[in-house]
């Protein structure tokens, strides 16, 4: 069953009196309980696609020219705004990229998560008291493997490390028990070792809770580690889609081949193979 389906989405931006089309008939599907990646370099349109799905595009300057975005069979673009608001942050929620700017520095983690939960409850018409909310916040913090959830809930964002803040953002997305997680370059701002932990956490959570994951990233390594099916975007178009393994084994499009060729390998010099010269390498290549 397809949970999220984007059909022929076209978006244009008007700035300084000039209109530029940034998305050309983008289509993608996220089946329930699947792990999908949307990969592209800067300017490929992956962030615009994500913003259009989440309803975060400011119009103007953006304009959705055509297309539909179905969530569970309903078109997000034509449904009443109140219904869309109710879906956003509840059934589909978002893991943001930058842990520094996504958390308000003057409130504790517990306060911020509690407030989000309160509004999510209100939108869903659920009743939950203050104590119930606090318990739920502690529960999600434990789910993102915080060792002392109570202490974290009482801390301010500045008191946490980058990796812990990123976990808080994941906890935030899990609060209202969504069925679809949209992750926008999670861990990009973090160190490699921390990023690896975050990716592993996300993967474990998605598998344990049967969530669908749409991973938006520029990093092909992240694609291989976290997804089973991948859409490659370039200049506002989906240029290739394939099961992840097949994409890396046999990329069909020239763009995808070039992109994969440009990634430096841990096994050694393949980077400059495109120009036909090996890097001046001291140690022997394997």
């Amino acid at each position: 069953m397809t949970l999220l389906s984007v059909r022929d989405l076209s978006v244009s931006f008007t700035t300084y009196g000039r209109t530029t089309q940034v998305l050309h008939d983008v289509s993608l599907d996220v089946p329930a309980c699947s792990q999908i990646a949307l990969v592209g370099e800067s300017g490929s349109g992956k962030s615009v696609t994500m913003k259009a799905i989440m309803g975060l595009l400011s119009t103007p300057p953006a304009r959705i020219n055509s297309g539909q975005i179905f969530y569970d069979g309903e078109d997000l673009l034509t449904m009443p705004p109140a219904r869309r608001m109710a879906l956003r942050g509840t059934a589909m929620s978002m893991v943001f990229q930058d842990p520094m700017s996504s958390l308000n520095p003057v409130f504790t983690i517990g306060d911020q998560l509690g407030t989000i939960l309160k509004y999510a409850d209100r939108r869903l018409g659920r009743q939950r008291g203050r104590a119930g909310r606090r318990a739920r916040v502690a529960e999600v913090l434990a789910q993102v493997r915080m060792r002392e959830p109570e202490r974290v809930a009482g801390s301010y964002p500045m008191q946490l490390s980058g990796g812990m803040r990123q976990r808080v953002l994941i906890a935030m997305a899990l609060l209202s028990e969504p069925t679809l997680l949209i992750a926008d370059e999670p861990g990009t701002a973090l160190d490699v070792t921390t990023q690896a932990q975050i990716l592993k956490l996300l993967k474990d959570l998605v598998e344990a809770k049967d969530l669908a994951l749409l991973m938006i990233t520029h990093n092909l390594g992240v694609v291989r580690e976290t997804s089973s099916y991948v859409y490659v975007m370039h200049k506002g178009r989906v240029v290739e889609e394939a099961p992840t393994e097949r994409l890396f084994a046999a990329p069909a499009e020239q763009y995808t081949r070039d992109l994969i060729a440009a990634v430096p390998r841990l096994t050694g010099p393949a980077l400059t193979a495109a120009t036909g010269e090996a890097a001046r390498q001291g140690g022997g290549a394997p």
Binding site: R145, R147, A196, Q197, R265, L266, L271, R280, Q281, G283
Partner: protein, 286 residues
């Protein structure tokens, strides 16, 4: 082996920690007893995450800050005292991480490149700017443009041209491609490799990206919390990492092929705060 161009001998930089009343209460050991040497024409990589002290080492080499103890030798001579001088500046240059902020937005490309060329006549300077832009494969007409009119990769080419203006022997590359798309990164690395061979440059390459390090550096040093935990020929260090942190770092790299994945050591990823190097070793032995 040719003689070393740059040597770090027991290099340390401690920053005092002050109480609110201004009393010295301790010291942060940003760099703690680091020794390495780079042969003339070699490429030495410093790998490390944030807080490892890699940028502090770069700043000390550039004379932007002075070591607390230990010494840096350029061609066998201690750089202390000569680091601020023009003669030293013309031998050692640096390419910064973010070409967006290392170029003055209010100065044209030509003006930026011309900074170290103030001794030349107007005509000689223009000719040199043309030549430098040619070296980084940009058209001479770009001298009249401003940074915001250039793409990220083009800006980094300009930053390289500027660093080459006074014909240095050692080029410090501080994460020169981490702000760029992967396809652009490949081109910049190719350019640097080519320039290094043509001009017989020596590189100190600082990066957190191990895959890139594997492809560019001949020798590598792994920094962790201010200490050099492991150093050796790149291929060797990557094939047989001796230190627990190196293994953790390698295990954390997102990769795109099974061959690479096979190369990664199987170590458990760490949840939460990073331990000290000693704790790390203990944890692995457990």
């Amino acid at each position: 082996m040719t003689r070393p161009l740059l040597e770090a001998v027991n290099l340390a930089k401690h920053y005092p920690v002050k109480s609110p009343l201004g009393f010295k209460t301790g010291a942060v050991r940003a760099v703690d007893g680091v020794s390495f040497s780079i042969p003339e024409g070699g490429i030495y990589g410093l790998a490390g995450e944030s807080g490892s002290g890699k940028s502090t080492i770069a700043r000390m080499i550039m004379g932007l800050t002075t070591p607390t103890s230990g010494a840096l030798l350029l061609g066998g001579r201690d750089i202390a005292g000569q680091a601020g001088r023009r003669a030293y500046r013309s031998k050692v240059q640096m390419v910064f991480q973010n070409p967006g902020s290392s170029l003055n937005p209010r100065r044209s490309i030509g003006q930026s490149i011309a900074v170290p060329l103030s001794g030349l006549s107007r005509r000689a300077r223009a000719a040199r700017i043309d030549e430098l832009l040619g070296m980084v494969q940009l058209p001479a007409s770009y001298a009249r443009r401003y940074p915001h009119e250039l793409s990220g990769g083009q800006r980094q080419r300009v930053a390289i041209a500027r660093a080459l203006a006074c014909a240095p022997r050692l080029l410090v590359l501080d994460e020169p491609t981490s702000a760029l798309d992967v396809s652009v990164q490949a081109k910049i690395i190719d350019l640097l490799t080519e320039l290094g061979r043509e001009l017989n440059l020596t590189f100190l390459f600082i990066s957190h990206d191990l895959s890139l390090m594997r492809n560019f550096a001949e020798e590598v040093g792994v920094l962790y919390l201010g200490k050099l935990v492991e150093t050796g020929p790149t291929a060797e260090v990557f094939a047989r990492p001796r230190h627990a942190y190196t293994r953790l770092l390698l295990a954390s790299v997102p990769v795109i092929s099974d061959e690479e994945a096979a190369l990664r050591p199987q170590v458990p990823l760490i949840d939460g705060e990073m331990p000290t190097a000693e704790q790390l070793i203990a944890m692995e032995q457990r």
